[in-house]
């Protein structure tokens, strides 16, 4: 009975997932996930966003098999070729490197940046926000003051200052963006924590002797995750744009790395005669950040219906 598959002989798996009386915790979770998916699926633009993000992941994972050329191999005899040239369908850059192959490898860098920034910034925000919201008092005041000060700078300017102090480079750009990205997450986590900290189930856990760390980790943080996921997904586009901006200014990924913003920066010198060198990486950036925006909107409708 506890195994959801055990009773599957008589009903379909769909009915099994949508049942009002799940027989196990796993079945309930899967059912909830499935309902969310059904709702998400109705938003066609969000599905499109999801498909593009999945495509980005596939391209990044299988870059060596998808790319037609070595992204760093120079061929000065074939420099600045226009798109549509046989063998170099997206054209070549000023060193004769194949633009398509560089875009494919650039997908890896873009994905790495967003994943790492999210992996650093979201936990920091979650920890600061839940601690401030649950503890209240002076800890709350101090932590939120610090958060406000970080929010008082426009994020790109603050990231620029951090990169200036750390030195240019892709790792430092990621650290700098993460250091500017966490304050909104702390705000969200704190707001969620304040609404649930006086709930009965928290009081029960406390009476059973759960330590503060355990209450935060097992009872409060899981409830903050949904709104945090929505916010992080919506922020991904902004993270991509900031990283591309740093790359464009020469402070992020360094040459010869195939980063999209740096590619635009290199193509900028030739834009009046060879427009495609700067144009094509820009289209890649728009496509990916648009996809994250659409996906985030769709997720918000499913996970966080209050705010849509």
């Amino acid at each position: 009975m506890n195994n959801p598959r055990a009773s599957g002989a008589t009903t379909t798996w769909r009915a099994q997932l949508l049942t009002d009386t799940p027989a196990s915790r796993n079945q309930a979770r899967l059912g909830q996930f499935y309902r969310g998916w059904l709702q998400f699926k109705r938003n066609r633009l969000a599905v499109l966003g999801l498909l593009i993000v999945l495509l980005l992941i596939v391209v990044a994972a299988f870059a060596p098999w998808i790319a037609t050329h070595d992204p760093y191999a120079q061929d000065l005899a074939r420099r600045l070729l226009p798109p549509g040239t046989p063998g170099n369908w997206f054209g070549t850059d000023e060193f004769g490197r194949d633009t398509f192959s560089r875009l494919v490898y650039g997908a890896r860098i873009t994905l790495m940046i967003v994943v790492l920034v999210a992996a650093i910034a979201a936990p920091i925000g979650l920890l600061v926000g839940t601690a401030a919201g649950y503890a209240g008092g002076w800890l709350d005041t101090v932590l939120m003051r610090v958060t406000d000060v970080f929010l008082a700078f426009p994020s790109l300017i603050l990231a620029l200052a951090f990169v200036a102090a750390l030195g240019p480079g892709i790792e430092n750009a990621i650290i700098a963006i993460a250091l500017t990205a966490w304050p909104p997450y702390a705000r969200i986590a704190r707001a969620e924590t304040i609404t649930i900290r006086n709930s009965d189930y928290i009081a029960v856990a406390r009476m059973q002797g759960a330590r503060t760390a355990r209450i935060l980790w097992a009872y409060i943080m899981p409830l903050c995750v949904a709104s945090l996921v929505v916010r992080v997904t919506l922020d991904m586009a902004g993270i991509i744009l900031t990283a591309a901006g740093l790359g464009f200014l020469g402070l992020g990924a360094q040459p010869p790395m195939a980063e999209w913003g740096a590619m635009i920066s290199a193509g900028r010198r030739y834009v009046l005669d060879q427009w495609w060198v700067a144009t094509i990486p820009g289209i890649a950036i728009i496509t990916v950040s648009l996809a994250f925006n659409l996906l985030g909107d769709g997720l918000r409708d499913v996970l966080d219906p209050r705010k849509s």
Binding site: A152, L160, F162, R268, A278, I286
Partner: protein, 346 residues
């Protein structure tokens, strides 16, 4: 009786003013703490970050003493706050002049760009947001939504490059990068530093139109981002208003739809709208960094990026601090305007 309550009111006003001043002071202190942290704690060797790795030994030692790096961290911070409080941001490595003077010189250019961009943002964003609300879920709404979504997804520097390619390179409608053509430079005396105003004061209309032709494209690119933001906010404020009962009453009374929207509803959202405009003005400072780089616009943004590439820490931190202070100032201003104009927000 009335005298006593008047006294209490004044006292309350003073107290509220005091709290406000304290809040501003704390925020500014926080900004200083962040720039101090970035300048002194993050770099492995703050002296190298200030003088660069080519500096001779004696310069290195002099700066080390000047920065007070031989003293405890909290003493350093206190000295730093004292210096900043009197506007001593140190000298720029690149220009060899005080950073504050440099910033005062380049700031009007950014102000000019951001102001025109905001005007564009308001002039187009507000009507677009209203159209989106009035034609909710029909094609004008979808169009406004797409324009906004693209605005949130396009890299501003790329949009600037494309704008230069199309409107300068191919069509030749506007002038290229920079603030003025080389033949027009240094003709009008700098009074305000804003060339459009200076040339109008001097009556040099040729210079004026040249400046207009230079500012149109960067301001439009920058303004696009305000359009996206202002239109989205206007739409949601307007939707709120149009579902209110007074709108039903006005319709029942037989008022024209245009009058309901442009007179009754617009007046009710104007307070919220002003705070949104102030915030979008602040956000333009951020976009200005990249836009100014693309258009070789000699403002604060380009000053910052030039300083960054030269690892000129004093200039970077001074610029960051000024941007942060302006950002905070505009936020406070929008709060104050809100309280001033909306009697409910007391």
């Amino acid at each position: 009786m009335s005298v006593a309550s008047g006294g209490a009111g004044a006292l309350r006003g003073v107290r509220r003013g005091g709290e406000f001043a304290l809040q501003v002071a704390l925020t500014l202190l926080g900004l200083l703490a962040v720039t101090f942290f970035i300048g002194r704690v993050v770099p492995i060797d703050p002296v190298l970050a200030v003088v660069g790795d080519q500096a001779p030994r004696d310069v290195y030692e002099a700066v080390r003493i000047e920065l007070g790096l031989d003293r405890p961290l909290w003493v350093q911070f206190w000295l730093y706050v004292q210096k900043m409080a009197v506007g001593d941001f140190g000298n720029s490595l690149v220009t060899n002049r005080p950073v504050l003077d440099d910033i005062a010189r380049v700031f009007p250019a950014t102000l000019e760009l951001a102001t025109i961009a905001t005007i564009i943002g308001v002039a187009l964003g507000v009507p677009m947001g209203i159209a989106g609300a009035v034609y909710q879920d029909r094609w004008p709404d979808q169009l406004v939504r797409v324009i906004g979504l693209v605005g949130y997804s396009v890299p501003i520097f790329w949009l600037g490059i494309m704008g230069l390619l199309v409107f300068y390179g191919i069509l030749g409608w506007v002038a290229g990068p920079g603030r003025l053509g080389i033949f027009f430079e240094d003709i009008v005396p700098a009074v305000t530093g804003v060339i459009l105003i200076d040339s109008a004061i001097a009556g040099e209309w040729e210079v004026f139109w040249n400046a207009v032709s230079h500012v149109v494209l960067p301001a439009a690119v920058l303004g696009y981002f305000s359009i996206a933001y202002i239109a989205r906010m206007t739409r949601s404020f307007m939707l709120d208003q149009l579902s209110q009962e007074y709108v039903v009453t006005a319709r029942a009374k037989g008022l024209s739809e245009a009058r309901i929207i442009w007179v009754h509803a617009l007046r009710n959202i104007s307070v919220q709208l002003i705070t949104v405009i102030a915030l979008s003005y602040a956000r333009l400072l951020e976009g200005a960094v990249l836009t100014e780089t693309v258009f070789a616009w000699p403002g604060l943004g380009r000053y910052l990026t030039t300083a960054l590439l030269a690892a000129d820490m004093n200039a970077v931190l001074g610029g960051t601090l000024v941007v942060g202070a302006v950002f905070v100032g505009l936020n406070l201003l929008s709060d104050a305007l809100y309280k001033l104009m909306d009697p409910r927000a007391k």
